[in-house]
């Protein structure tokens, strides 16, 4: 997968006119490709740059069309943290994403293992249902779910309706991890079984250490999904600002600070930054995971 396509190298060819034109063509192509690369990079990066610059403008300058701050108002970030509720949203998000991710991994691993390595009747059906659940938008079942949490359990305005379902396996995580586990050769499992390991021990001692990249990928995806979730908090937490998450609360900045784009953009940066930091620490696992969803098969 890591091999790179290269035209046949003509490095030490004698300097015939034909070779020289070929080399000039290669150089021109290098320039063209990298110019396009820089143009694309600007498209992808400039929005971040403008957001950062605006987040450091003074209130009055944020109302102008200036692109670069006259004075750098690092104080804006302190103001965001001082906004009532901001730290609570931060805590709720960490709780939702952190606890939820741990629960998802714990509950999805055995299911993915069974779907990948056990033979049983209904396995293919189960897998189809997992994929169907994965493709289903949350809006489809939200009305009964909301009535269940709000009217029967009286838990709307809390984080429970968001976190509890994550303890019962997440379809996407199960599917992705199953894809990963099928690539582990059976010989390893058989060897463990011959040594007298039960299935649980085989899973914990033999399979899990080999499945670390897959588990890292689903943990990351799940963390991001919870961090990014807007619909869940909108349905279950909206009535109680004490249960808001960052993704949900962020929007209220524009409302509370009306036209002050600077504070809104500072808050936006603070919501984006953790995800991007996590990505830099776990880049490899993440990209592997994205690739696994589409290409393996």
């Amino acid at each position: 997968m890591t091999q790179v396509l290269r035209p046949p190298a003509s490095l030490d060819a004698p300097a015939t006119p034909a070779a020289r034109t070929a080399r000039r063509k290669a150089a021109l192509e290098w320039v063209a490709v990298h110019a396009l690369g820089v143009a694309a990079a600007l498209f992808f990066v400039l929005p971040f740059v403008f957001v950062l610059l605006t987040s450091l403008m003074s209130d009055s300058q944020a109302l102008s069309r200036d692109l670069i701050p006259h004075t750098w108002q690092w104080d804006n970030y302190r103001k965001v943290f001082d906004t009532p509720g901001f730290l609570t949203w931060w805590r709720n998000t960490l709780l939702y994403a952190g606890v939820g991710t741990v629960l998802t991994v714990l509950s999805s691993v055995p299911v993915a293992y069974a779907l990948a390595k056990f033979r049983f009747r209904g396995r293919n059906l189960s897998l189809m249902l997992v994929i169907s659940m994965m493709m289903l938008p949350p809006q489809v079942v939200v009305i009964p779910m909301y009535l269940f949490w709000a009217k029967q359990l009286d838990l709307s305005g809390t984080l429970w309706p968001l976190i509890v379902p994550m303890a019962f396996g997440d379809a996407f995580s199960i599917f992705l991890l199953r894809q990963f586990l099928t690539t582990i050769p059976n010989e390893y499992l058989d060897a463990a079984r011959v040594d007298g390991c039960g299935e649980l021990r085989t899973l914990v001692r033999v399979v899990l250490p080999m499945a670390k990249p897959g588990i890292a990928a689903i943990a990351l995806f799940q963390f991001f999904a919870a961090w990014n979730d807007y619909f869940g908090p909108q349905i279950y937490a909206s009535e109680n600002p004490g249960a808001w998450t960052l993704s949900y609360g962020l929007e209220s900045f524009k409302g509370a600070h009306h036209t002050d784009w600077n504070l809104t953009m500072a808050a936006t940066v603070l919501v984006m930054a953790p995800v991007i930091l996590v990505f830099f620490f776990a880049q490899k696992a993440f990209v592997e995971g994205v690739t696994l969803t589409g290409v393996k098969g």
């Binding site: 790179v4 990298h34 990079a41 069974a114 169907s132 099928t182 990209v287």
Partner: protein, 313 residues
């Protein structure tokens, strides 16, 4: 595995399977099967959450299709998103994927930069674009103005809100880029060399070597893209809310699909009917329409690309 003959051994294996599968089995029953059946049942009830529900037959269904003023605009917008954004995202993703395989210097830096926007949380990315594209002080319109080009109203203009949304979705094309990049690098180099020896032009090499090799991945990207576009919720909703300038809060009423219903999508109708109008029955009708559409494309995905499911043991 040898065939197990002892009944007790078989029972133990079945119990073991059940134990391993149990988290998902419970989740499936409680958070999928039960609410899905309830949704079907609720779609025939008149229920506002306060008064006891009453049977209303097909009334909700007729209301949604015949009288609910937001249904057809939302369906049209969803169709627009499916056709335009999916086409553009796949084409752009493929283009960027190709570009990254050609870049020889600083490849990993370019790849990271191209990928980063995909990671931006949807609400944050939408807030960022609402600012970038705001007609008053936004940097994009400032630059367009300076260049003497017309500066559109983007999220505040019904004719431009969907293109603005498309721009936002194109910005986050990193997922497709990575998938296409991996597929492009898997194309056997010999095939390119053979084509080159035969005197194939650059375009011919792309058309007759690259495309056939990556067509399953293109197909996968199109179908998953269609499913994602149908379910597009957060970005159009937040864009509309920010552009209309409403202040969020408990029970906040906002104009759905601002401006002029142009950013309304099907999933938003479930929220509008259920949580703004407290008409749970009609919300369930829309939910079922969404369900039918999602399942149709998922079935297509599973049939078309059996490879999605790797053979197990």
């Amino acid at each position: 595995m040898t065939t197990v003959t002892l009944a007790s051994k078989r029972r133990r294996a079945a119990l073991r399977t059940l134990a391993f599968m149990s988290p998902w089995l419970i989740g499936f029953a409680v958070f999928f099967a039960y609410p899905l059946i309830s949704t079907v049942y609720f779609s025939f009830l008149h229920y506002d959450g306060f008064n006891p529900p009453t049977w209303s037959g097909a009334k909700n269904w007729r209301y949604v299709f015949e009288h609910y003023p937001l249904f057809w605009p939302a369906l049209r917008n969803t169709l627009w998103l499916v056709l335009v954004t999916v086409t553009l995202r796949v084409a752009f993703g493929l283009g960027v994927g190709l570009l990254i395989t050609k870049i020889k210097t600083g490849t990993s830096l370019f790849r990271t930069l191209f990928y980063l926007p995909y990671l931006a949380p949807p609400v944050a990315a939408t807030m960022a674009f609402a600012f970038l594209l705001n007609p008053g002080t936004g940097p994009v319109n400032s630059l367009l103005d300076k260049a003497g080009l017309p500066a559109p109203g983007w999220f505040t203009d019904p004719a431009w809100s969907k293109p603005a949304l498309t721009l936002l979705l194109l910005w986050g094309v990193g997922d497709l880029m990575v998938i296409f990049m991996a597929a492009l690098l898997d194309v056997p180099a010999e095939q390119y060399e053979a084509a080159e020896l035969d005197g194939a032009s650059r375009w011919q090499r792309f058309r007759y070597v690259t495309l056939p090799n990556i067509s399953p991945i293109v197909m996968f990207a199109v179908v998953t893209g269609v499913i994602q576009a149908m379910q597009c919720y957060t970005q159009p909703l937040v864009a509309g809310k920010v552009a209309s300038g409403v202040i969020q809060g408990a029970g906040a009423q906002f104009e759905p699909g601002y401006p002029d219903k142009s950013t309304l999508t099907l999933p938003q109708l479930v929220y509008n009917l259920g949580f703004q109008r407290f008409d749970y029955g009609s919300a369930c009708v829309v939910a079922l329409v969404l369900f039918a559409l999602s399942m149709a494309f998922t079935a297509f995905l599973m049939r078309r690309r059996g490879g999605l499911i790797q053979a197990g043991d």
